[in-house]
Amino acid sequence: MGASQTRSEHKYQDLADKTGFSLEQITNLHKRFQQLSGNEDTLSRQNLDNIPALANNPIRNQIIEAFFDKRNQHQDEVGSFNEIGFEQFLMVMSHFRPPTLKTTEEEKEALRKEKLRFLFNMHDTDNDGTITLVEYRKVVEELLSKSGAIEQETAKAIADAAMLEVASTNVPDMAPDDFYEGITFEHFEQILKGLEMESRMHIRFLDVDTTTMRCGKSTS
């Protein structure tokens, strides 16, 4: 028991340093990982698909895809995995950590960039570095997909208006014949500056053991 524990602790310590989670949080997430993967070492798309609660989520496909996206592993690779191990799972989860009281301003900036990058990767499905109009339209369509029968045109119009807004904000002096290729990461950052991602894009990671359902204390 002792040897394996120190071994797993050592392994977790490595992960803790890489992702910033605490050891308890990693242990909990590992339990969950085991649960999802059926005690296997790797997680496949099917496993995530089978989560019942996700069924009602309009962007579930994008979320699941994000786990298998190599870009989110911070290793400068592109493409996607077929299956992911616990480390990759943890890396993706680490994007949702909140800032602490000790986080400096620069760290907050870096955190925000990281989170925005995650979002950007979710939208930029063909990995060309920009979110084109087609991709953005898809995003809006997916968002509205579970909202009943809305017309295609509405989603398109919304996406178009949004795109127009991005273009207007970032490149106001475009000549009539210029073509705005797509939203680059800088433009993306610019338009979402007001949302303060570092304070909004996070969930509560539990320090204590909870495999049962728990009404999490509200984030306040």
Binding site: I150, A157, L164, V171, M174, P176, I191
Partner: protein, 777 residues
């Protein structure tokens, strides 16, 4: 220009004197009138002792008849004129918060009345205060409460409101009692102060006042989090105050409180708080349900909102529940549904009436505070007053720091020291404390006057000292200010996206957190509640679409109001248009050719006719530009100078041609489901964003009454009338190239854009952000 502020000051002084002189006149008038009548009778009797016939009074003074409403109106007028006056003096309102100035005015008026030797009317009578002056302010706050930050921080707010107020009350009350008991050698009036009255006093003085907080915080524009923390606390501590007040008042006579009483007190607190919220929610749902059926009687829609809310308040007060919480709950519950049902004009009406009433109420409250201060009754006791002030401050600071320490263990985004300072410093006391003190029975509480004096001192201290210094302190500490940014469609999209994303991640993580339950609530809302409470098709409209429609409408109204009709409706002053983002498939054709080839003359004429009758400003220019015939314009002056006119016409023609390319009103199939919005012009106006499949735009415009610029709500869609454009159209929002529009002065643009941005900052009906437009835009 330099004389304007001085004139304003002069006006102020005149008004204050007027007010001071008329009111005593009113108070003293009744004996005057009777005196006069008596003298009349005397004269008559002398004239003809047998005749009882009086000379017919051609002009007589009967002040008594109209006294009460007249005085009320006079007070309201004074309040409004004061408010006007302060804004005429620019530097003053920057340094001194309005509330301070108003109290000073109240002091002046009270002083004048006293000087005139008259009885100061009991203006801060508790019934008047609690039933008439307070509800508008609270309703305004509740209706426009930003739900999302409120809910996200609900735990923190409750901690501050409940635990914080309890701590304050007991700390202040207890220590005050202790202080009063010292100096046994020197028997003073303080020794007869029992513990329970002290605790009662503590509970009155410890509650943060929403009116004062609103008044001061409105001017400093700090970030949303701090604002909602302090403000939310001031609203929710009402329940605690109510319970503590009644508890101590009840038992102060008896002199002791048992454990049973404490237990009952706790139960009472729960009943008061939850009961208040329930009562409010019920009335809110009733109001929402009623608004579902008001599509044919739009005029009285605002009335429902006001009356239901007021009744919620009164019902809660009837049961001694927390009226404030009931009012907040009512406003917050009904808002998303009511806004989906009512017309745009009703929406504006509600907004402005609420702002108006709450503004006048607030002004009156501060003036009355000043007046009541002058009146007294006062019993100044140095020890008591100074100890009270010091203890209040100390208790607040300790309370906030201690509570934050605990709260930060549960918060994800922790509260920093700066935040804590602002929360502590923002704990202002106000008129509610005074009114509660006023309510005390003198028989039970012989030291009531002393209490009142101390309460007023604390109020003055917090409002003047803290109120005046908080603005420079905020600047000094570089506290994050409120983001003035407009709410863009991108932000809205991503807010929604984030919500779903975080819910999904939580589901994957396996624990049911904050987002999960919020999502569940949303789905429940969408599935059942919205169907009941929202009329027609709007019930199925997703939030994003609702937001988008609202934005469109704002743009359209803005467009019409800017008078140009040709100014681009896009959010930003840029030349970017749909062309720039649509992938180029076809070579862009020359604008002029397209127009001429596509639009038959009759169509052109129809467009012009419509534009003429709907766009007020351009009406003058659209006349007689038809290049084939010269229509005499009966409205235009100077019919004689045809040459110049002709030249203008040619120029306009060109512009109109450009306009015709881009300015089309899309067809409105009457059965278009998503788009039936009965917001403008009281008629269900169906407009569709669906681009017409054919190239010739069919225009169906409801020529609503031309005097309402709002009626042109259809000008939000611009399409390229192009035959070759096979694929679906996006939105075409391009300004005509070159000089845009017949009349568009440069400076107008700037202000228009600002206006546009303000408009666009208005989120959709079910969005959480409130409309933070100041009362005087």
């Amino acid at each position: 220009r330099a004389s304007l502020p001085e004139r304003g000051l002069l006006l102020l002084m005149v008004l204050v004197f007027l007010e001071g002189s008329v009111l005593p006149l009113g108070a003293a008038s009744s004996p005057d009138v009777t005196h006069q009548a008596n003298s009349d009778n005397h004269i008559v009797k002398e004239a003809g002792h047998n005749f009882t016939k009086k000379p017919f009074p051609v002009l007589s003074l009967d002040y008594h008849h109209i006294q009460a409403p007249f005085e009320i109106s006079l007070w309201v007028l004074l309040a409004s004129l004061m408010k006007l006056g302060f804004h005429l003096i620019p530097r003053l309102s920057g340094i001194v918060p309005e509330s301070c100035l108003l109290i000073v005015v109240g002091l002046l008026v009270g002083g004048l009345i006293k000087l005139a030797g008259e009885q100061v009317p009991p203006v801060l009578d508790s019934r008047l205060f609690f039933l008439c002056l307070l509800p508008p302010i609270i309703l305004d706050a509740g209706y426009f409460l930003p739900i999302r930050p409120f809910m996200e921080n609900l735990g923190t707010i409750l901690m501050f409101a409940v635990v914080g107020t309890l701590w304050n009350a007991f700390f202040v009350g207890g220590l005050l009692y202790a202080v009063c008991q010292i100096q046994p050698g020197n028997p003073s009036i303080l020794h007869q102060l029992e513990l329970l009255p002290c605790l009662l006093f503590g509970s009155i003085i410890s509650a943060v006042d929403p009116v004062a907080v609103l008044a001061v915080f409105e001017e400093i524009h700090i970030n949303e989090l701090l604002h909602i923390l302090v403000f939310g606390e001031s609203l929710l501590n009402d329940a605690v105050t109510v319970v503590l007040y009644h508890l101590f008042e009840e038992y102060a006579g008896v002199g002791s409180v048992t454990v049973m009483d404490v237990f009952l007190g706790i139960i009472s607190f729960l009943v008061v708080a939850v009961g208040g919220v329930l009562v409010g929610a019920i009335y809110g749902i009733l109001a929402a349900f009623t608004s579902r059926f008001t599509s044919h009687t739009r005029v009285i829609e605002p009335l429902f909102v006001f009356v239901y809310s007021y009744m919620a308040y009164l019902s809660a007060e009837m049961f001694h529940l927390s009226g404030i919480m009931s009012l907040i709950a009512c406003g917050a519950v009904m808002r998303p549904y009511v806004e989906a049902n009512i017309s745009h004009k009703s929406h504006t009406t509600i907004k402005y009436f609420l702002k108006m009433w709450s503004s006048v109420s607030e002004t009156l409250i501060f003036i009355f505070l000043g007046v009541a201060t002058v009146e007294g009754p006062h019993n100044w006791n140095w020890t008591f007053v100074t100890v009270t002030v010091i203890l209040c401050l100390v208790a607040r600071v300790i309370g906030v720091v201690g509570l934050t320490y605990v709260i930060n263990k549960f918060r994800i985004v922790k509260l920093t020291t700066k935040d804590q300072f602002i929360v502590a410093y923002g704990g202002l006391r106000g008129a509610i404390a005074f009114s509660l003190g006023f309510l005390l029975n003198k028989d039970h509480f012989p030291l009531r006057d002393m209490f009142l004096t101390a309460i007023i001192t604390v109020i003055f201290f917090t409002v003047f000292v803290q109120g005046m210094t908080i603005k420079p302190l905020v600047e000094l500490l570089a506290v994050k200010k409120k983001q003035e940014a407009k709410r863009s469609i991108n932000e809205e999209i991503h807010t929604q996206f984030l919500d779903h994303l975080l819910t999904g991640i939580e589901d994957i993580c396996g624990h049911y957190g904050h987002h999960h339950w919020k999502d569940k609530l949303n789905r429940f809302n969408k599935k059942y509640v919205k169907k009941c409470l929202i009329a027609g098709e709007r019930s199925k409209e997703p939030q994003l679409i609702a937001f988008y429609h609202k934005m469109e409408m704002k743009q359209a109204i803005e467009l019409v109001e800017s008078g140009g009709g040709v100014k681009l409706p896009s959010a930003m002053p840029s030349a970017v248009s749909m062309q720039n983002i649509q992938p180029k498939k076809l070579p862009p054709a020359k604008p002029a050719e397209r127009a001429l080839s596509n639009l038959p003359k009759g169509r052109e004429e129809e467009i012009r006719k419509i534009l003429r009758s709907n766009l007020q400003r351009t009406r003058q220019r659209l006349r007689s530009y038809n290049r084939h015939t010269l229509l005499a314009d009966p409205y235009e002056d100077g019919l004689g100078d045809l040459l110049i006119k002709k030249q203008k016409m040619i120029e306009l023609e060109r512009k109109i041609k450009d306009m015709n390319n881009y300015l089309t009103v899309p067809a409105a199939p009457p059965d278009s489901p998503t788009m039936c919005r009965a917001r403008l012009a009281s008629d269900p106006q169906a407009y569709s964003m669906k681009p017409e499949p054919d190239s010739v735009p069919t225009i169906q415009v409801d020529l609503a009454s031309p005097q309402s610029p709002d009626s042109v709500n259809l000008m939000d869609e611009f399409r390229r009338a192009e035959q070759q454009h096979e694929e679906d159209q996006g939105l075409m929002m391009k300004p005509p190239s070159g000089e845009s529009g017949p009349k568009k002065p440069g400076e107008e643009d700037g202000s228009r854009e600002h206006k546009l941005m303000r408009c666009l900052s208005d989120p959709g009906p079910s969005a959480d952000e409130d409309e933070d437009e100041p009362f005087l835009p």
